[in-house]
């Protein structure tokens, strides 16, 4: 019964987006992926939520700037366990073109565990969906 319930629960991964100083390319693509009819993540049971407290899968964009760092870390800590982290775009993964600037503190895996990387600048929505699908399979094992 317990395993069955967990299996059922895995079909409801709610998404939350954190912008850690991105150029908003990935954010726009995330909004597109999450909200519009063409990609409709709701059919995967996903829901885009407004509060970190409701999130299961965290999508992070941006190279982590100095000024946003504390806020991102605080926000990340607010997301209840179990959670899965997806780095969207090359910025959170390696800081991309912004690497080695005085105002950049990334990459993101220096601060908290990342599970899935979706490289691209920005990745296309289909690639993001692929990443989310992968994240769901990781999430299933964590419940």
């Amino acid at each position: 019964m317990k395993t069955f319930l967990k299996k059922v629960a895995a079909q409801s991964p709610w998404l939350y987006r954190i912008n850690a100083g991105s150029c908003n390319g990935c954010d726009v693509e995330l909004a597109t992926t999450a909200c519009i009819s063409r990609y409709d993540v709701e059919r995967l049971g996903c829901k885009y939520c407004g509060s970190p407290k409701h999130a299961d899968i965290v999508l992070i964009t941006g190279p982590m700037t100095t000024r946003v760092k504390e806020k991102v870390l605080r926000l990340y800590a607010e997301i209840p366990d179990p959670k899965v982290t997806v780095a969207v775009g090359i910025c959170p993964i390696s800081c991309g073109v912004f690497r080695d600037s005085y105002a950049i503190e990334g990459p993101i895996d220096k601060y908290f565990p990342v599970d899935i990387n979706v490289p691209g600048c920005p990745p296309r929505p289909q690639a993001i969906i692929e990443g989310i699908a992968e994240a769901i399979s990781v999430w299933r094992t964590r419940l």
């Binding site: 519009i36 991102v72 912004f98």
Partner: protein, 360 residues
């Protein structure tokens, strides 16, 4: 009534990007505003001074993904001005096409977010679906949905063959129909009008005082468009009108943006018809002498200005740019005070704030 402070942001769902306001409110009314900027400050100007001219094309494109074509093209224009490089005529038209495609997508995105903020989810989705046509065009012609990578020093990197020109033309025909419908919706729909009319008013005097640019200025009745005032690329040979509205509220700005999107579609079609054959890029590697130059363009959000200073090496001595949102953002102080808390996100969105551009 005593006032209280509410934080907006920095990571607010309604806003694409991190920005932080401390809004002072009395009841539901905004009485004061303090902006803390810099959450997306990545030190790009410093990075630009450590990278060579080629790398800076890609770097400037990553300033912001919504006006990602305006940056490299204006940067390349600054280099070309400095080195007195005349780009091939076909490249001039191709630059206009890339710029206008981005303008349509960017303006539609902003108007869609307006729908989202007023809780009109179906409208948001409807406009975003229409924008997908532009996204497909970008992906098909340039290979990416946001960053076109269309420019290089002395011209453009892409070309439109017969087949692609035809494809572009057909997609623009499709867009026309959708854009007309969307424009009518924004003008007539009572829910859109109830929430946006008379909200976040920026008077013409204030607009001049804050020196706002782009659709924000034109929404307040200032007739200024870089494409007409200081023409570049092929704009001196294209036929278009500057769009203005006099109300200065959220709805006027949205209307200006939508009309500019409609016009952009016509501009793209003009380019496809008028474009002469020929090379798309100069064929010798550019030589950049020491000196300084200015280049300006009309990005989707307004006037974009680049200042470039070189010392004869292949790394800029100083590269500085001022983006349209820079002044528009500061002008929020004038727009927000006196309005309702529920309209904060709406008014902020109405200047189409590009934080990543502004903070660099």
């Amino acid at each position: 009534m005593s006032s209280y402070t509410i934080p907006v942001g920095p990571l607010h769902v309604a806003l694409e990007e991190p920005m932080y306001f401390r809004v002072e409110a009395q009841g539901e009314m905004v009485v004061g505003l303090d902006i803390t900027a810099g959450h997306v400050h990545r030190g790009i100007e410093a990075l630009a001074m450590t990278r060579n001219f080629y790398q800076n094309i890609t770097l400037t494109e990553r300033l912001c993904s919504l006006c990602s074509n305006s940056h490299p093209s204006t940067y390349c224009m600054a280099l070309e001005n400095l080195a007195s490089i005349r780009i091939p005529e076909r490249a001039e038209y191709l630059r206009v096409i890339a710029d206008e495609i981005k303008r349509v997508a960017s303006n539609l995105f902003n108007c869609a977010i307006l729908g989202h903020i007023i809780g009109f989810d179906s409208l948001f989705k409807h406009v975003m679906e229409t924008r997908e046509i532009m996204q497909d065009v970008k992906e098909t012609i340039y290979g990416n949905r946001m960053d076109l990578a269309a420019n290089c020093i002395g011209g453009v990197k892409y070309d439109l063959d017969e087949e692609r020109s035809k494809y572009l033309w057909q997609q623009m025909e499709r867009m026309k129909k959708h854009l007309d419908e969307i424009y009518a919706l924004y003008c007539k729909n009572s829910f859109v009008r109830l929430r946006t009319e008379g909200v976040g008013v920026l008077s013409k005097e204030d607009a001049l005082r804050f020196a706002v640019v782009g659709p924000v200025a034109r929404g307040s009745g200032i007739d200024y468009d870089v494409r007409q005032k200081s023409p570049y690329a092929a704009y001196d040979r294209l036929d278009f009108e500057v769009q203005t509205e006099n109300g200065g509220d959220v709805l006027c700005r949205a209307k200006v943006r939508l009309r500019e999107a409609q016009q952009a579609v016509r501009l793209i079609q003009q380019c496809v018809t008028d474009m002469p054959a020929g090379p798309t890029c100069i064929d010798t590697p550019p030589e950049i002498p020491a000196g300084e130059a200015i280049a300006k363009s009309e990005a989707p959000r307004g006037e974009l200005i680049y200042y470039l200073r070189t010392d004869g090496s292949d790394i800029p001595e100083r590269l500085k740019w001022r983006v349209p949102s820079y002044m528009n953002w500061d002008a929020l102080k004038s727009m927000l005070v006196g309005d309702k808390i529920s309209d904060i996100a709406l008014i902020v969105n109405s200047i189409d704030p590009c934080i990543s551009c502004t903070e660099r």
